[in-house]
Each structure stands twice: as C-alpha cells, then as structure tokens.
Symmetry: C3
Subunit: 205 residues, 3 copies
C-alpha cells in the first residue's frame, strides 16, 4: 500500500488518536500526574510505535516528525482524554478498548509500511506487531508496569494475526482497503476476546 | 545555527557535562551501585538525549559517536561526580540544579540542530524538548523512578519554552549566541521556579 | 572483519541464541508470564543489542530484520528455553552462564561491526560494550529490575575488555578468528569470575 494513500493515513492517524486517548486516560488514573504528565504520556503512547517502526525501517526522520498531523492528533487526543477523564468514573473499559483499537490499526499500518519500504513477508508481519505493541510497551515502562506484551497471552498474537492478514492480502492482490480492514478487525476481535474471557496462553510449569 | 560552530558545541558539551554530573550524583544515592554503575548511569543520562535527537533526525551515527569529546566529557563528568559525591552530604540541590542546566542547554541545542537539518518550526521545538528530557527519562527508567517529565508540571514546559525562544530567534534573524542564551536562561529560570515553589499544572479530578 | 564472513555470523548468531535462552529462562521465573510473554522476552533480549548497535551505526534496517536467521534463532531459542525451563528446578546458574556468553559474543561482534562500518578505535570498543549490554538492559527494564550493567561491577568492564581485545587484534593484523575468540573468552572469564566471587568495584562512601 502506498503510505501516502488516504486508506493508509486514516489507519495510521486513527491508531495514533486511539493510543493518545488510551495513554492519557491511563495517566489520569495515576495520582501524581498533572495535565502535562497526562499529555506527555498520551503522546509517548501514540507516537512510540510509529517512531520505532520508522527507525527500524531507516525511514528517518519518522513520519511523526515530517507530518504535523501526527503531533496535532496525538496532542489533541491526549487533551480530550484529560478533559473527559475528569468526568468519567469507570475508565477501565474504555482504556482496554482504545488499546485494542490502536493495536489493530498499527499492526496493519506498520506491516503495510514495511512492505512498501521493501521488507520481506515475515519481516513485515513482525514489524507490524512491533509497531502495534511499541507505544503501549513504552507507556507501561514509563509508568512502571510490566508491559502487556509480556503479561497478556492475547496481545502479541492478535497483532501478528492482523499484520499477517494485511500482508497476505497485499501479496495475493486484494485491494488495499478490504485486506487492511479485515486484518484490523481480526486483531481487534481476538484481542477483545482475550480481554473478555481473560484467556492466557500456556504457562511454564 | 551551524552545529560545528563554537557556540553550538559549547551548549551541547556543557549540557553533556551537566547531565553526566547529575546522572552520576543520582547514582551515588542508590546503595547498590558501585563506581561502574555510577559512571554508566552518568553516561546514559549525558548521552541519551543527544542519541535520541540524532536518531530521530536520521543523523547517524550520532554526534556522540563521531566526536570523542562527548564520550570523554560524559565519562569525565561522571568520574568527578563519583569522587565528589562521596564527600557531599546533601546532594538534592546540586542534582536538581544540574538537571535544570542540562535540560536548558539540550532544549536549545536540540532545537537548533533540528532546524539546521531541515526540521520545520514546530518539529524543531518538539525535538528540542525531546533532547532535553531524553537523558533524564532514560536515567529514571533505569533506576525505576517514574520520569520527571511525567510527574513534574514544570519540566516539559520550560524545555518547550526554551526551544521556542531559540527557534524563534533563529527565524527572525537574531544572532546565534543571544537567542540561544536567552532560550536556555528562560528554560532554567522556569524550571528552578517550578522546583522552588513546587508548582504543578492542573491535575485530573 | 567482514560482517558477511562465517566467523562473524557464528559469533553474532550464537550470541543471539544465548541471549534468547537467557531471556526466556528469566521470563519463566516470573509467575505471570505465559508462553507468549516468555518468547517475547527472549526475543527482546536476543535482538535488542544488535538493533541498538545497528541503529547507532545507521545500518538500517538492522541485520535482525534483513536476515531471517536472527528472527528464527531468537524465536527458536526462546521456545527451547520455554520447554526446558518447565523441566529445570535450578535456573540461576544457566541463566548467568548464558548471559555471560551472550555478553562476550556481542561485545566482540558489535566492536568488529563498528570497525567495519568506519567507527574509530575507541568508538568501536564502546559500541561493542553497548551491543553486549543492550539486550540484557532491555530485558531488565521490561521486567522492572535495575539493569545488571548498573548493579554489577564486572558487567560493563568485561564487555569493554573483550571488545578492546577484538579491536586491537584487528588493528595489529591478527587473523579474525583468534582475536575474536580471545576477546570473547577474556570477557566470559572476567564476567564469570565476577559472578563466582561476587566481586564489585569500589562503592561511593
């Protein structure tokens, strides 16, 4: 997929917005953080995955810094979440849903950008998963949580599945939009299934 | 500003030295760290911001690895702090002042390097702030503190203000030295004001 | 050393395998991690150092993403450790030995890759040490331990020593294999000596 196409931009910018809301809502639950801390955590969460992806691809400066819309959407989403978070009592559900949405959109956009810049099939799938889990992992490290990608069985797996669908669709010549949407929807559904039923993969011992 | 100019080098190397002292003094307060841990934390703190800046700019290898003075000053500053730290009873104040100094110098040098390598106005300001908070954030993650950039209302804001002054000065044609110094001084004063009066930005709820 | 030479590839891929086993075994000791978490931590540990090295060298995309063997060995080693870890009661010793092996191999391979891509003598040594400690530091940050490179006196020092021997051997014209092996063996012996006798460098106060 051409990364300047509207489909790609909508995927990537919507993922940025979802992660900005997610990161900032997560921050509002931590007592010591004020508005600057909330917006900063939102921006790290929103932009982290894309920055890691573009660094690994050698596509520097990252899209985040070349296109002002990423910074604007990340800051705007964080600000919205700061205001909304003060009015919401129950944040656990929206935080999980937004995280799943960001995960899904970035898995697809990361994989497709990898393909466009010349990654092989397997590498593009891995790169999609890294893009998807990058922002949330950075968020968790900054607030001293063990990252979801380590503790939650169905976190890396749906990202890999979504990226795989998007890459496979591209390779067999399906049009951009349906294969991207199919990948993102599959990732989202697997992730929400895991969250809802608290599914984990097999544990050691 | 030309990044090979003496003004730029003095800013960037002095920031490196301030963060090396700061990181190493922080390390001496953690009981389990020996001299290698102290120097390593000093070097991470001193070099982290510049490495992140140069990676985001695609200016690789980073200046840190192309110019031996960065490594020498980071290691030397850390060693000085290791020796001095054993003789000082009260480290809290010097640690805060050195952190504010590094923050101010890197906000300006990061923004100006961004401009020189082609970043837009807004991106250069953000890049200056990332350079400024990068080393301290890495330091805090490594010693398992929640980073200052999240918890302290006046940490990212003075960095953005200092970077803004430096970039604006460059754009309206003020000479390098006065606009850089004005940006750094402004950042330092706002940061120390925040530390002294324990000012925070508005909090959620 | 030519980084496409068999000697270099054996060093780098064996280091990847050792760190994959180490990271995954470390993960099996953390109660909350399931198989995906174990493999993910193994892959972060195995691939982290090389990704940091290639990013600092501007050699992007990193070797990890250009050569499928790195991903395969990292995933395979992690899977082996997941299975084996369920059968082993005492993991502390293998974890330490594998960490020392990865440290030694990556110190040498990182330094030699730095030299080949044009780093100076001192920079190549530092780069070797960063490659060596990178994966383990990432591992420790993700599981919220203070990294070994800060707490253990003989962790950065053996990496620097091993890298120094490899770089010096290359410069004075010793053949690739003996100088690389000598550097790795020296690093491994110093590290195991430090582990066995619990040696630390001087501490503050």
């Amino acid at each position: 997929m051409d990364t300047s196409s509207p489909t790609y931009l909508v995927l990537d910018l919507t993922g940025t917005f979802a992660f900005a809301l997610n990161g900032a809502l997560t921050a509002t639950r931590i007592a010591r953080l004020d508005i600057v801390g909330v917006i900063t955590l939102g921006m790290f969460t929103a932009l982290g995955g894309g920055i890691v992806r573009d660094t690994l691809l050698g596509a520097l400066p990252p899209a985040t810094f070349q296109d002002w819309r990423y910074l604007a959407i990340a800051a705007g989403g964080s600000l919205v979440a700061f205001v909304a978070g003060r009015r919401l009592d129950r944040l656990a559900i929206p935080i999980l849903v937004l995280d799943a949405a960001g995960l899904s959109l970035f898995a697809v956009s990361g994989a497709l950008k990898g393909l466009e810049l010349g990654s092989g099939f397997g590498q593009a799938v891995i790169l999609g998963a890294i893009t998807a889990v990058g922002g949330g992992t950075l968020r968790d490290v900054l607030i001293r949580e063990i990252p979801s990608v380590l503790t939650s069985g169905l976190y890396a797996i749906p990202a890999l599945a979504g990226a795989l669908i998007a890459v496979a669709g591209d390779r067999i010549g399906v049009a951009d939009l349906p294969s991207a949407v199919a990948g993102a929807v599959l990732c989202f559904l697997i992730r929400m299934y895991g969250v809802h039923f608290d599914v984990d993969a097999p544990k050691p011992r």
